[in-house]
């Protein structure tokens, strides 16, 4: 029996996902030993954020066939919302250091970001995607892509117009001493932001796998006519999917406000990193997107460490291009063009 398991494991290792996961883990361990554990911490925090943004992107692409170019702007909306919610809270905390808001204030801001993202998503569907879908679905992928390009420019410049171009950041969410994990001191904010993204990704996965609505979303992504036949209200699912996808990006923006202050183009980096992830992991599979998120995060962190800051534009793009050349369906891409499955 164990022999059988061994051979199964071995064949898995030889597949593209197996190989890349093992190599990534090895690289992560080696780099951590060499450069210090902060590298691992950075990777985990960035990876958690990317997992959120990338699952949202996957959702849009898989269910609605919209290649989102504006996804980073929902990240920006999240960080902006969190900023405007948390700034008064932190002033209040300064005056009342014993208030319950010390612990729960940040959660209010982050949940606010989530809700803000969801609302922005609903508005986008009502004003932009819905009208396009009702008018025509010819050449849908390209047209909707161009539409999201417009949305992206619009949101970036509305931010600049209304809130200005300066950095709107906070010192930190949770005060107090850093937490010690195996002799490494990690700030509370980092730990919390990772935990938040882990919990949300896990909840999202369970939602998609086991609930009636989650299954309906997957059904729409696999066969939209089939979904309609069995009585799934497509309009509702579309609206839900967009708001979910945008909320995921926004919550990432909100929980990382302490690292990435909000400014008009803050979403650009999460956007293209999330696209790296989506392409790396092939279309639409949640677990693949999560694994891919951590790989891209590792790639970024390692590039920053060993090649230098700023090269994180170059090295990951080069690597992704290589992957695209040899495996256009991505590392985790399945042959069946189905979306959002294990």
């Amino acid at each position: 029996m164990s022999k059988h398991n061994m051979s199964v494991t071995l064949t898995w290792l030889k597949t593209a996902p197996g190989l890349s996961i093992v190599i990534s883990i090895a690289v992560a361990v080696a780099a951590t030993i060499d450069a210090g554990p902060y590298l691992l911490v950075n990777m985990v925090v960035t990876g958690g954020m990317l997992a959120l943004v990338a699952t949202g992107l996957t959702l849009m692409l898989g269910v609605l066939n919209i290649p989102m170019f504006a996804h980073g702007e929902y990240f920006m909306i999240g960080s902006l919302t969190a900023y405007y919610i948390f700034t008064p809270i932190s002033e209040f905390i300064l005056e009342h250091p014993d208030s319950w808001l010390v612990t729960f204030g940040p959660f209010i801001a982050i949940i606010g970001a989530l809700i803000g993202g969801a609302i922005a998503g609903v508005i986008s569907e009502k004003l932009v995607f819905g009208p396009l879908r009702r008018r025509s679905t010819d050449n849908w992928v390209m047209n909707s892509f161009l539409l999201t390009v417009g949305v992206s420019v619009l949101l970036i410049n509305l931010h600049q117009l209304i809130f200005g171009a300066d950095f709107k950041g906070i010192v930190g969410y949770w005060q107090g001493m850093p937490i010690s994990i195996a002799d490494v001191y990690v700030s509370k904010d980092r730990v919390m932001s990772f935990l938040i993204s882990a919990v949300i990704v896990a909840l999202f996965y369970l939602f998609m796998t086991y609930t009636r609505t989650g299954m309906a979303i997957r059904a729409v992504s696999q066969d939209i006519t089939g979904a309609e036949i069995v009585g799934i209200d497509i309009e509702k699912i579309v609206l839900l999917t967009i708001s979910l996808a945008c909320a995921l990006a926004a919550v990432a923006g909100g929980s990382l406000l302490f690292m990435y202050p909000s400014y008009p183009t803050v979403g650009l980096e999460p956007l293209y990193m999330a696209w790296f992830v989506v392409i790396l992991s092939g279309l639409g599979n949640i677990l693949g997107a999560v694994a891919g998120a951590f790989m891209v995060a590792l790639l970024k962190v390692i590039t920053m460490e060993y090649v230098g800051a700023g090269w994180d534009f170059v090295v990951p793009s080069a690597l992704i291009m290589l992957i695209l050349i040899f495996k256009p369906s991505g590392i985790f891409g399945s042959d069946v063009r189905g979306v959002l499955d294990k």
Binding site: R212, M215, A216, R218, A219, Q222, D223, T225, G226, A227, E228, I229, V230, G231, I232, D233, I234, S334, V336, G338, V339, D341
Partner: protein, 235 residues
């Protein structure tokens, strides 16, 4: 009258396919539509199922006007459509596909009852309940599509070409399962290439040609009709 279709005109975009199609089905009836390829049989089914909105005409189901409702709204009224293309969820297991078929049923125990029923009818599906629909054979998929159509406990089933691409043996078992459904009180509108078979099993039939109803009547009479014999049976 369970379903009444009156002067239905429908098509794709500006292209009109159906011209003044009228038909009616009583509760518990087993009705067939036959006709050559491209006659508009599938288009008729899709229009009734709400996947195409008609240009004019009306569809009344159970005394209620359902013209122009969306596919999901029609499904909720109790009409289930087994399409020619099957439209299965290829990346879900057989069991998940079946549960999706019962999407309009909220109570879990009712869903499970339906699942038992379908599994009894198609033991093959029960054996393969964990398999992904996309990896099933053509015949198995057809069964799954029909099984999924039954899951919502519909009062009317629209079945488009259930035997297409099936071996004779499987065809027989598919027809047998439809027969079982009729016995449980379900009404069926059947579209089939196999004219002899269709006219043998159904009670009443329509002949559709170039988007128009040419003939209608008792299936037994249609089978004896000289025109039908000449055109479809090559006799």
């Amino acid at each position: 009258m369970l379903l009444e279709v009156k002067n239905l005109n429908a098509g794709y975009g500006y292209l009109q396919i159906l011209r003044d199609v009228s038909l009616h089905i009583d509760k518990g009836e087993y009705v067939g539509i036959v006709g050559p390829n491209g006659a508009g049989k599938s288009t008729t089914m899709k229009t009734i199922a709400g996947l195409i909105s008609p240009m004019s005409g009306s569809v009344v189901f159970n005394g209620e006007d359902i013209t122009g409702l969306s596919g999901s709204a029609v499904a909720k009224k109790g009409i289930s459509f087994v399409s020619e293309e099957m439209n299965l969820f290829v990346n879900m297991t057989v069991q998940e596909n079946l549960y999706m078929g019962a999407y309009t049923i909220k109570e879990k125990h009712l869903q499970n009852e339906r699942l038992e029923f379908v599994f009894e009818l198609f033991p093959r599906l029960a054996e393969r309940r964990k398999q992904l629909a996309g990896t099933m054979s053509g015949g198995e998929r057809k069964m799954l599509a029909i099984g999924r159509g039954m899951m919502s406990n519909p009062s009317l089933m629209l079945v488009d070409e259930p035997s297409f691409g099936l071996a004779p043996q499987l065809t027989t078992s598919v027809f047998a399962s439809l027969e079982v459904l009729i016995k449980t009180g379900v009404t069926i509108l059947l579209v089939e290439q196999n004219v002899t078979k269709t006219l043998a099993v159904t009670g009443r039939g329509y002949v559709l040609e170039n988007g128009k109803i040419g003939l209608e009547g008792k299936s037994a009479d249609l089978a004896e009709d000289s025109y039908v014999k000449k055109v479809f049976l090559g006799v």
